[in-house]
């Protein structure tokens, strides 16, 4: 079973991801940036879902930068899922494989894009 790391501070959103994905994936989550980076290094997930507005000092872009600069995590595909819209270019430039606005994306679409990047 492939492993997905969710870095998302909103507990309900986090719970929605786990509920949808845990039937087919092993889901682990972090609720702030620093914790997300250390979990990514320690647990070596197959894919990371990353929010942008995160508490604890590191926002999503900081996390993305750390992940891409660390040889242990630089190859892991990262999908940015945020409710800020202006982020697509920055996310792609930072090395994310996709960037979606959560409120305008169905949970099935989320699962489909994950599936696509895990093939």
């Amino acid at each position: 079973m492939k492993k997905i790391l969710i870095i998302e501070d909103d507990s309900q959103t986090n719970s929605a991801y786990s509920s949808k994905l845990s039937a087919n994936y092993f889901v682990t989550s972090a609720i702030e940036g620093k914790q997300g980076v250390s979990k990514a290094i320690k647990e070596n997930p197959d894919l990371i879902i990353l929010d942008i507005m995160l508490p604890g000092g590191l926002n999503g872009f900081d996390v993305l930068r750390e992940l891409k600069h660390n040889s242990a995590t630089s190859q892991i595909p990262v999908i940015v899922l945020t409710n800020l819209e202006e982020q697509e270019q920055a996310a792609k430039a930072g090395g994310a494989v996709g960037c979606l606005v959560k409120a305008n994306t169905s949970i099935d679409e989320v699962e489909n894009i994950i599936k696509k990047h895990l093939q």
Partner: protein
């Protein structure tokens, strides 16, 4: 003579003490007079201003702005109106609404310029804060709306077990209300983007018929619910036009959604697209409820909704036409309509066949 000097004194007192900054220059823009508000707003004393050029506090708007301004006041000899970013003595910037009028002698030669400035820094700040507030609040609203959306989708998909028909029906209603809230947030975000001037315009060669077909296929289910028939009359040989497809899509969508919403069941909507001079005209005609005559001038105002439709259709934000107008006008086009209550409305908009001009910015519109 006594009377005219008393009159003169009266005018001088009025100008000296006016709330707005008023200066008089000669035809070479050398300052001859400045009132008290001018010294207060710019921070320069009267002595520092006299004989100088208003560049003392102005001149920060870029070459094109001043070229246009000089053409209007010196060559066309008309009044110039504009918004300028100036700098007070000491370096603090301020924003002013400015008007400059040439004063002509009997021969039509310019003898003076009268410049009037109103400091609108505070209004601008408040406006910006309002836009930022809407943007922040909207983004924050999206988080709980997303969680609601996703959990309902999972319930409807049967992820938590099979629902009976009644449960599904209730949940679909909850889902639809939530989607409406998401759309409202998207509209508010779009308004705040347009108003903040940070919108990106990215024109690319566009086949108008295929763009319209995309809009139509998105709206098909909504039209089908009311058995609305859509007739497309797109003129042949419309050339490819450089348009920001996302923006223009939004205009067609807003107009077609309105005409669907305000048509009677089984109504016919006609979308005609044709060339006229240097413009491409689009006309969306419905035979629905129409707009009451006395409300017609308010149709494009933000949050306006017709009193005759609010009763029947509680949903709707009153932002669609406001957005459509902002998009069309910023693209060099116009938007207008004719309407009769009880008979229907036709909304028209024009876009230059020469295309939209690109504009760099930070944000795009929400889907």
């Amino acid at each position: 003579m006594m009377e005219s000097s008393a009159d003169l004194e009266k005018f001088k007192l009025a100008v000296d003490n006016a709330y707005d900054h008023i200066i008089i220059t000669d035809s070479d823009a050398k300052i001859l007079y400045a009132n008290a508000a001018a010294t207060k707003i710019t921070g320069y004393s009267l002595q520092e201003m006299l004989g100088q050029n208003p560049r003392l506090w102005g001149g920060n708007m870029g070459k094109k702005f001043y070229e246009d301004m000089w053409k209007i006041i010196k060559i066309d000899k008309h009044t110039f109106h504009g918004e300028v970013n100036n700098i007070r003595k000491g370096g603090r910037p301020y924003t002013a609404e400015v008007s400059i009028s040439p004063v002509l002698n009997d021969k039509g030669e310019i003898v003076y310029f009268v410049g009037i400035e109103r400091d609108i820094t505070r209004e601008k700040d408040i406006d910006r804060m309002k836009t930022e507030f809407v943007s922040l609040a909207s983004h924050q609203l999206r988080t709980p709306l997303t969680a609601v959306k996703w959990f309902i989708e999972m319930l409807l998909d049967g992820d938590a077990g099979t629902l009976n028909d009644e449960q599904s029906k209730y949940l679909r209603n909850v889902y639809q209300s939530n989607e409406r809230m998401i759309e409202l947030v998207n509209s508010l975000l779009n308004v705040s983007r347009i108003e903040s001037g940070r919108i990106i315009v990215e024109p690319s060669p566009t086949n108008i018929a295929s763009l319209v077909n995309e809009v139509v296929s998105k709206l098909k289910p909504t039209m089908a619910e009311k058995d609305i028939k859509l007739v497309l009359k797109i003129e042949d040989n419309i050339p490819s036009i450089d348009l920001d497809q996302k923006l223009v899509f939004n205009v067609y969508e807003n107009l077609l959604v309105n005409s669907t919403k305000y048509s009677f069941p089984e109504g016919v909507i006609t979308l005609a697209i044709y060339k006229e001079g240097e413009f491409l005209i689009s006309a969306v005609e419905d035979h629905g409820v129409g707009i009451p005559t006395h409300e017609q001038e308010r149709v494009f105002l933000k949050f306006y909704r017709g009193t005759n439709v609010v009763k029947e259709h509680s949903e709707g934000s009153g932002l669609g036409l406001y957005l459509a107008k902002a998009i069309v006008e910023s693209s060099g086009g116009k938007i207008w309509f004719k309407s009769e209550e009880g008979k229907g409305s036709t909304f028209y908009f024009s876009l230059p066949l020469s295309g939209m001009k690109s504009k760099s910015g930070e944000v795009t519109l929400s889907a």
